[in-house]
Subunit: 188 residues, 2 copies
DNA sequence: ATAGAATGACTGATCAGACACACATTTCGA
DNA sequence: TCGAAATGTGTGTCTGATCAGTCATTCTAT
């Protein structure tokens, strides 16, 4: 059998794309991404049919990684508060550890290159976190609001918190707690 | 270069840009914008030196309009709650009445075409609203958090609320109140 | 008559993607 | 065991399309 199309290079391209997108935006030339990945620009298209495919794959890859980071070593039998706080800390830690992935994800998220299907898959990876949120707001003032609205509020508070942590890393821990407390107050 | 004669055409171009950007994104050709505005593509450049200038002007124009809509008929001698709720309602009404401007503003806000100066000017127009927020959180649990963080949280909750109202207009009023209550809980 | 506004064909630059080829690995016949 | 054909991966030059911005010219108001 011929050497399999290496998954390593695919990953290298995705990582290169992340780095380039952060500084050049989504209009970064594929040739620049290929160069950064140490691959010929023609080769890029043997791994991804089109630039759009590359961007969609990247979006999903990062979102999936983020979701699994949030659920890392998740305590199953704890109180909602502890469960949720644990997930929140994981989330914020991931954001601080991977600012470039988060930045790329933000750019991809508002791009119209990302298809509805891709967004839907992305949402599905966040389903366990949404479930956690459901349990946390079960008896609070938002129990009558649509689930999607509460999820949107949580996400937006998380995003704002992550932005601020990235911008002022010295007080990251403090901001993380303040953001969580603010969210918790919102739900109770 | 030639100086523009009519401010009307400048406005027409900005409005056309809003409409086109909503459906085509920021990569929409200037020729398309000019066409929508009923102007020759060369003429566009007698009103705006470059495409980047056009986008920056548009960002500021919309942001300024939004800020003044929020402060419309603002009650000066009321309690913080009433003042803030009034401003919130204005904000949400503006968003529902001008979904395309909001959409364009969102796109422009994340674009790297918008300069730091432009963003700074944009923030300045929101200063009165930030001031209002300051009064509303004066004695709450967030009084120790940096002003910028609290503003960011408010903005993100507002954005999420506006998104949901636009997406589910039938229950817009309900969502508006739910969003405000959530924000108020966050601050108290 | 003239100054400045408006025009639209044109240009140079950029970029996604194609394509023809080079090269590595596996298969297979003798 | 060995060489060569077959199979499939990787390359980089090339091309057609797109687009921001230019400029020689025309229009319009006074």
């Amino acid at each position: 059998m011929a050497r399999p199309r290496s998954d390593e290079k695919r990953v290298a391209i995705l990582e290169a794309a992340t780095r380039i997108i952060v500084v050049q935006g989504l209009s970064a030339p594929t040739a620049r991404i290929a160069q950064e990945a140490g691959v010929a620009n023609g080769s890029l298209f043997t791994y991804f049919e089109t630039k759009t495919d590359l961007l969609n794959d990247l979006y999903l890859e990062i979102k999936t990684e983020m979701a699994s980071a949030i659920l890392k070593s998740h305590p199953t039998d704890s109180k909602p508060y502890d469960e949720f706080l644990h997930a929140w800390k994981n989330w914020m830690n991931w954001a601080v550890a991977h600012p470039e992935k988060r930045k790329a994800l933000t750019q991809l998220g508002v791009s119209d290159e990302i298809t509805a299907e891709t967004r839907f898959s992305g949402h599905k990876t966040m389903a366990p976190i949404a479930e956690l949120l459901e349990r946390s707001r079960a008896h609070g003032p938002m129990q009558k609001s649509p689930k999607g609205f509460v999820v949107a509020l949580m996400t937006s508070v998380a995003d704002a918190t992550m932005d601020f942590m990235t911008q002022d890393p010295a007080n990251a821990k403090k901001h993380s707690k303040a953001g969580f407390d603010a969210l918790w107050r919102m739900l109770h």
